[in-house]
């Protein structure tokens, strides 16, 4: 099946009246690389992170510690076979990696990464042509407060704002969670990396896009080559047909001539 270790974890489906999302990792007791989960948090909220021990596991009554980075968290709750903590996220300092460590005969652990939502850019470069317009779209699953676009000038990232020529860049908010940058009248220099940055209540997140600007000549060369090939083939076929018709006619005339001769 698909690889689930780095999937974005959605809430386990339990929503308490106080609107706390619960995220759970089930540990099987086989020691290996720690199980990890990425949790996207866009705005201040309360989350409950819980580590559950699989009933078939050989570890019984382990000693459980919760850590954020290297600091131990004291306020933990235990129920049956699961240990959990409640995290109130108010600003970016509460984001990070929270791990639960179960010490028995072996030590197994799981890590929750609380982070700002990832931005979907484009991994493959966008191909456009000189004189054309390029459209770049960034999407995310959550609703950011604001979007900012950056273009790379050499090695620096330059923000695209009102200081830029108005006829060149058009930014509009395509929907609540998507932004669109349109670059008009493209030239070769417009190619390169572009960044879209989403500002959430809890922090900023960037997505990367690459723009490639080609000249019209690029696709035109193969096109002309194909057209030439077609013209050559068609001419050859028609010439061959005309030639074989002539041959047949000559053969037919000769046969007639022979017939008349015999008579």
């Amino acid at each position: 099946g698909p690889d689930v270790t780095t999937q974005d974890l959605k809430p386990a489906g339990k929503e308490n009246p106080s609107n706390v999302s619960v995220y759970e990792i089930v540990l099987s007791g086989v020691s290996g690389s720690p199980l990890e989960r990425n949790i996207s948090v866009a705005s201040p909220t309360k989350v409950e992170l819980s580590c559950k021990l699989d009933k078939n596991s050989q570890i019984k009554n382990p000693q459980v510690t919760w850590k954020k980075g290297s600091d131990t968290i004291s306020h933990t709750t235990k129920s049956e076979n699961s240990w959990s903590i409640q995290v109130t996220i108010l600003d970016s300092s509460q984001l990070g990696s929270y791990s639960c460590i179960l010490k028995g005969k072996q030590e197994i652990s799981a890590v929750f990464h609380l982070q700002v939502p990832k931005i979907e850019g484009k991994d493959k470069p966008i191909i456009t042509y000189e004189g054309d317009a390029a459209v770049m779209v960034c999407k995310t699953d959550y609703i950011p407060i604001a979007w900012t676009w950056y273009m790379t000038n050499g090695s620096k990232q330059v923000a695209i704002n009102d200081s830029m020529p108005a006829k060149k860049y058009v930014i509009n908010r395509q929907s609540a969670n998507a932004t669109r940058l349109k670059v008009l009248q493209l030239t070769k220099e417009d190619g390169g990396l572009y960044w879209c940055e989403a500002t959430f209540q809890l922090g900023k997140s960037k997505g990367k896009l690459e723009l490639k600007v080609l000249s019209i000549m690029a696709p035109l060369k193969p096109f002309v080559a194909i057209v030439a090939e077609v013209v050559i083939f068609v001419t050859t076929i028609f010439l061959y047909e005309w030639y074989s018709k002539k041959k047949e006619k000559r053969a037919g005339d000769e046969r007639e001539f022979d017939q008349i001769e015999r008579l």
Partner: protein, 473 residues
């Protein structure tokens, strides 16, 4: 030439069954490939179009629908053009249209312009190429016609396998504009195929050279008399029902696999299996259909292929793992190939050379509605029930129903008897005399397959009788 029908498919000519026919077959192969694989190749660019024009997925799906509508719906128009101008000019013009449509599309600035260029113009061009190519194939092959049909139909899966990765590469290297431009260039090769379609001329006899225009029997631009042929009506009806469900499983099998939890590459591999088997199933089925004892009953072989296909769909609806889907794809590939190889061969056998140009146009038009309704309604069904099982079941039911319509219709409505050569002779003579006057409906019931074969077997007797009623002794 005037207003008289220029292309009446000279039946006085014996089908070469080889020679230049192989070049015609090659051209047919390529054109079949382009016609069926092109909508799929264009769909590779849809994601980019969605981003650039800010439209939704269903807006881009219109491009495929328009292409299909033009390919199928302009059938009668193509028949009229072929009957009026002849096959080769129509094909050359068609190739130019198809190419021009894509080239202009690469410069478009709105999605509606793309509908009109890549959709309407290219679709029309492809249609103007596809139909005449089948007509020419029918004229060049007679004894080996089932094999020829199977081989040329193999063009569809071969091009499907080739054009998809090519489309991806073009999109990666040149974006959608450059990709459309180059695809337009490639479509120009349809003109090369059109150039290969040398018209067949009746052997020149010394007396015949004196008679130019009047020897040609006046033929309608679109021959609706095919509707009087019961076999044709049954075929058209069965084909329309079949097309409702035939193309649905390949469209949904990949998403079915993904739905079961398998990764993208594994799911896409299913289609590769299907296509690969299809490539070989078609010519092999063509060879089988050409066997002496199979050929007169090829309508029933066609029904069998459809029942096989429907049965595969029903079995496939119950598959729950990857192995089941692989088995489904293998058997679906075989049955789909058989259907593809036989569909036009059976039509050619039913209506004969003379009327094929009109018949195929009408059949394609009848199928047009079904082709446009089939896959989208399956999609709606999927959205409503969220179960892939029902989609496959419905497709299977539709294809099986059409098989039953075809088989039972032929069994009960058409009296098929394998006659002795003497009675065949009588029937043939009656047929020919009636051809020069208006054809009476009863004679249409004469077993056209036997007559066709008989006509082709004795060209010398044939040549004078049909084309020259005045000199008929």
């Amino acid at each position: 030439m005037g207003a008289v029908v220029a292309d009446d498919g000279p039946s006085g000519v014996k089908a070469p069954d080889g020679g230049w026919g192989w070049a015609v077959l090659f051209g047919c192969f390529i054109i079949t490939g382009f016609s069926y694989a092109f909508p799929k190749a264009v769909s590779v660019f849809f994601k980019e179009l969605i981003r650039e024009f800010g439209i939704g997925y269903s807006d881009t799906a219109w491009i495929s629908s328009i292409l299909l509508a033009m390919l199928y719906g302009t059938g009668p128009l193509c028949s009229v053009c072929v009957n009026r101008f002849g096959c080769r000019p129509v094909m050359l013009v068609g190739g130019l249209f198809a190419s021009m449509g894509m080239v202009i599309a690469s410069f478009c600035t709105s999605i509606v312009q793309i509908y009109l260029t890549a959709g309407v113009i290219t679709g029309l061009g492809l249609a103007l190429n596809f139909q005449p190519s089948l007509i020419m194939l029918n004229r060049y092959f007679d004894k080996r016609r089932p094999l020829a049909n199977g081989l040329s139909a193999a063009g569809s899966p071969v091009f499907l396998c080739a054009l998809s990765p090519l489309g991806q590469i073009l999109q990666h290297e040149y974006g959608w504009r450059g990709g459309f431009l180059i695809l337009g260039g490639m479509l120009l090769n349809c003109c090369v195929c059109g150039a290969l379609m040398r018209p067949l001329e009746p052997p020149k006899k010394p007396e015949a050279t004196k008679e130019p225009a009047e020897k040609k029997v006046k033929k309608k631009l679109l021959d609706f008399s095919v509707f009087k042929d019961g076999g044709f009506v049954i075929y058209a009806l069965a084909a329309s029902i079949m097309v409702l469900g035939l193309f649905v499983p390949p469209v949904f099998v990949v998403s079915y696999a993904k739905d079961l939890g398998y990764p993208d590459t594994k799911a896409a591999f299913l289609l590769t299996i299907l296509g690969f088997i299809d490539i070989f199933a078609r010519p092999i089925c063509g060879m089988v259909a050409g066997l002496k004892w199979v050929r007169p009953r090829c309508v029933y072989l066609f029904s069998f292929a459809m029942i096989f296909n429907g049965f595969t769909d029903l079995m496939g609806s119950m598959s729950v793992d990857y192995g089941g889907l692989v088995v489904f794809c293998i058997f679906f590939g075989i049955s789909y190939g058989m259907v593809g190889a036989l569909q036009f061969e059976v039509l050619m056998a039913i209506v004969g050379t003379q009327k094929f140009s009109s018949a195929i146009g009408l059949v394609l038009l009848a199928e047009a509605m079904a082709v446009l309704i089939g896959p989208p309604s399956a999609g709606k069904l999927l959205d409503a029930t969220e179960r892939y099982m029902f989609v496959f079941i419905i497709a299977g039911i539709e294809v099986t129903t059409s098989a039953l319509v075809l088989a039972l219709g032929n069994f009960f409505c058409i009296k098929k008897k394998i006659d002795e050569p003497h009675t065949k002779e009588e029937a043939a003579e009656r047929e020919e005399l009636n051809k020069s006057e208006d054809k009476t409906p009863e004679d249409a019931k004469v077993d056209s397959i036997e007559v066709e074969q008989f006509l082709k077997d004795e060209p010398e007797k044939n040549g004078e009788v049909v084309t020259n009623p005045e000199t008929c002794v």
